[in-house]
Symmetry: C2
Subunit: 203 residues, 2 copies
């Protein structure tokens, strides 16, 4: 069984918010194939944007998305990275897509200010959540029903998982590998990436 | 004064080897502009490939490079990420470009298996260097004059700096920010990225 992970891309996305989780699932799938050659790929990561035009990430990196909102594979996991989300928050079609896609997925996750997009889609109402340390107050002010948590790498509420800023997306994704495929693979993935991961004590 | 950092891109490059350093220099430049608005940008990061065609990174990510080997801005720092470097090692034009560009730059750095490309260009002869933990033995076997070091995040020999695997490129880049612009900015950059960086004791 392949778990399909969709990552939402948009202009002014923060590079590592996106690339960190991408690398984690890519590496985990590669390691799994090493020990079980010929098995179905454990994770397939696809990129989705609001159109098939190239995306300009922060710092001017130009990336070509693979799919668009109206036409992409079914997702088991939706990941919404952060960056400058001001424009995205106003895009009703994007927010609507996040809400609908989340309803059809097992897990929806955000990195950094991606939490604002999940919040705008109503996914965090009444739940605990986190975001970049600089944005915790804004998240609480804009969405008063959210129980905003500081000083945590990620918050798992079951169907919705939010990560703190930028590199915390790596930690959260390793956690998701553990949740979806076992802690052993998560630890091996961290080691393969030479990432100093603080694995959760309770798992 | 702007420090221009060139990152070499190639097919089958490891996503985080590239994106980690990119994010570090991008974030450091952004933080510097916050405290000194209107000042020249501290770091400018440009991407360079062996042609202007799109690059397919590992995992199928398609990225558009900004410059090609024969036409790019002068570089203060050249960074060569890793990934599957087998094809690159055989490309005489690329190896030649790395050697010539390194000679004209202040610092040349590698991440992960990017060390093999620096080695092939003769940049590591007689020096200490590191790479991904899985590739340490191969690096020593292929280039016997290199003093290969294990269990270190990066090795700084002055003009040439090599990092260990994948995420260690982030650590090394934070170190380079410290070397080029001071430890205070390096620490602030790590905090902005929420990256748990083990800053060097001697600096």
């Amino acid at each position: 069984m392949t778990t399909t992970i969709g990552m939402y891309l948009f202009d002014d996305i923060e590079v590592l918010d996106f690339a960190g989780p991408f690398e984690v699932f890519l590496t985990a799938a590669r390691l799994k194939l090493r020990v079980e050659p010929g098995s179905p790929r454990l994770f397939e990561v696809v990129t989705i944007a609001d159109g098939l035009r190239p995306i300009t990430m922060r710092g001017g990196l130009v990336l070509q998305p693979q799919f668009e909102l109206s036409n992409h594979p079914g997702l088991d996991v939706l990941i919404v990275p952060g960056g400058i989300v001001t424009a995205e928050l106003q895009q009703a079609a994007v927010i609507d897509w996040i809400a609908k896609t989340a309803a059809a997925s097992t897990i929806t996750a955000s990195v950094c200010t991606g939490a604002f997009l999940l919040a705008q889609a109503g996914l965090l109402d009444g739940l605990e959540a986190t975001t970049h340390w600089e944005d915790l107050d804004d998240l609480a002010a804009m969405f008063p029903s959210i129980h905003v948590k500081a000083n945590t790498r990620w918050v798992d509420t079951g169907r919705v998982v939010t990560a703190a800023g930028i590199s915390a997306g790596i930690d959260m994704s390793l956690y998701l590998v553990g949740r979806l495929a076992g802690m052993d693979l998560a630890l091996k993935t961290a080691r393969q990436m030479e990432f100093d991961w603080q694995a959760p004590v309770h798992q």
